[in-house]
């Protein structure tokens, strides 16, 4: 079976106003089949959101150069016109954002913000769309949806708003749902409820999901596969169990070592010293070398090759497979 999503050599370069460049995403590769949930992890600033926005075609055209290949049902999304891309977005591609407090328009009711999507993509009239909007709000377990549908976002709590965002994203039964840290801004109990929602979506539909998260606990619970990103590239890709049991990239090992701090963003890694490299230029060798406890001469000359470890498991490290090299 061919993959639903096939991303190859995705690259995003930002051009600043003062001529500076920023290689936010470099050679990102992954495939995603229907019904599979892929977790995307990595520390802040490594390019997770930019990858998601590039797939959705939502990066600013003026400042972002996107190249490579983003296959969706066999079509290269990067080659589509703006109009064709708009037809897909909100319909077969959907995205939930990290910021529930600001992602809804304060000037329109929750209902209106769902209805307009249905009218746009499903050609419903407003009455039909409204009825469907109420159903969707019920599906995401918003209490008394008949009333909520006419309320403005400021009346809802963060958790409720994020559910409303989920309802908008699910309005047209997308094939691919990208959830960019959907729970980071929420408190723990609400997080669990929203995650439940995504899990039940997984069961009910055959959609592929990309779940971006800082939280390895969340990834372990929900995802089938995991891609670990570092400095704009995927350094390790593995089935979820394999990643936790036999991580094959020193960066992944470092990330896992910081698991006890589940409740926090993995912004400062307990075991990895230093920070992300300057991405105004593409580094020569392994990007992780300055922070890697295993780094040696061969790591810095040229980019490390991809080492295939097992079924759907690979690592971008010259020393992989790492046997008993855990620090």
């Amino acid at each position: 079976m061919t993959a639903l999503v096939d991303v190859a050599n995705l690259r995003v370069v930002f051009h600043g106003d003062r001529g500076q460049t920023m290689h936010a995403v470099e050679t990102v590769n992954f495939e995603l089949a229907r019904g599979v949930t892929l977790g995307l992890v990595g520390e802040s600033g490594c390019g997770k959101s930019v990858t998601a926005l590039a797939i959705m075609g939502l990066l600013p055209k003026a400042s972002a150069d996107v190249s490579g290949y983003v296959g969706f049902e066999g079509t290269n999304l990067l080659g589509l016109t703006n109009a064709a891309m708009r037809d897909l977005r909100g319909d077969r591609l959907a995205m939930i954002f990290q910021e529930p407090m600001t992602s809804l328009n304060p000037a329109f009711t929750i209902g209106e913000q769902i209805i307009e999507t249905l009218v746009r993509h499903r050609g419903m009239n407003r009455a039909q769309a409204r009825a469907r909007a109420i159903e969707l709000l019920r599906d995401v377990r918003i209490p008394s949806p008949e009333q909520r549908v006419d309320e403005y976002p400021h009346k809802l709590s963060g958790g409720m708003r994020q559910r409303a965002m989920v309802a908008i994203a699910l309005a047209c039964d997308p094939q691919l749902l990208i959830a960019d840290e959907p729970t980071t801004a929420l408190d723990v109990t609400i997080q669990a409820q929203v995650l439940d929602l995504i899990r039940s979506l997984k069961r009910k539909t055959n959609a592929a999901i990309i779940l971006i998260s800082h939280d390895l606990g969340v990834i372990a619970e929900i995802c089938d596969e995991v891609a670990v990103m570092y400095a704009g590239e995927i350094v390790e890709h593995a089935p979820v169990d394999a990643l936790f049991e036999v991580p094959q990239h020193p960066y992944t090992i470092g990330l896992l070592a910081s698991i006890p701090r589940l409740d926090r963003r993995v912004e400062t890694l307990a075991t990895i010293e230093g920070s992300l490299p300057d991405m105004s230029e593409v580094p020569q060798g392994c990007r992780f070398a300055p922070r890697c406890p295993f780094a040696s001469e061969i790591c810095v000359g040229s980019p490390p090759p991809i080492a295939n470890i097992g079924a759907r498991h690979w690592s971008r490290c010259v020393k992989a497979p790492l046997e008993e090299v855990r620090p």
Binding site: R86, G90, S103, L104, N105, A107, I168
Partner: protein
Amino acid sequence: MLSLLGKRLLQLIPTLFFVSVIIFSLQQLLPGDPALIMAGEERDPAVIEQIRQQYHLDRPFPVQYVYWVQGVLSGNLGESMRIHVPVLDLILQKLPVTIQLGSMAIVIALVIGISAGIISAIKKNTFWDYAANAFALWGISTPNFWLGIMLIFLFSVKLGWLPASGYVPLTEDWRASLASTIMPAFVLGNAIAAILMRHTRSAMLQVLESDYVRTARAKGLYERTVIFKHAMRNALTPVITLGAIEFGTLLSGAVLTEQIFTIPGFGKLIIDAVFNRDYAVVQGVVLVTATVYIVLNLLADIAYVLVNPRLRN
């Protein structure tokens, strides 16, 4: 909503009281004895004394104020000391002219300012953006009298399309009326358009970067829906409020422009009254202008609440 309206109306009372006290006090500070001025050539002390009594000028200041307010509340703004016409009549005669001019100016300002602002925001850093910004700079820095004279020179003297001066009431001949006001309205509107354009541009740029606009795009909405529904609704609210306040300024601040185009509006009334020391007229005009200004502010506030669901309860 109703309770909000009630509250704002109640707040008007102290504001208006304050304004009226100031207007009345300023009057007292002006040099010259009003009774003497009213008496004119008459130097008979008995006559002057009689005028004093008639206008309560012999009573203490607060009492005079109370008499004055009583008069104002019953629609009596006094009488022009020079031409002996009730001030209210003078005002009612000139106000429609100024309102017509102000309305035309504000419509011109809103249309030009908002469209130029939106275009320059969505075409940021392109020719259109630079052109709109140059226009705004020009609009802000061009003195009204200069622009007025240039327009008269071009459209009246050179081309002969529009009358150089004078005013025809709307009720008389609406075409001639528009022809007689379009140039001064453009002069007044132009400067405000520039201000509104700058505000629209920065508000739009900010809103276009917002998360909810990104959400709207993520839903695959057409770009026109994104801009004219999601972005504009939020960006234009403060701009409209600003427009209402500028409209208030127009009603009192068209002095110079009315003078250039010899439009017999409020501006001309104020000038004449000040030069002639016609205190009752000055007082009445200032009071009406201040009231209109305050009411417009109130309306702008209410409109702001109406389009802003967060403030509605």
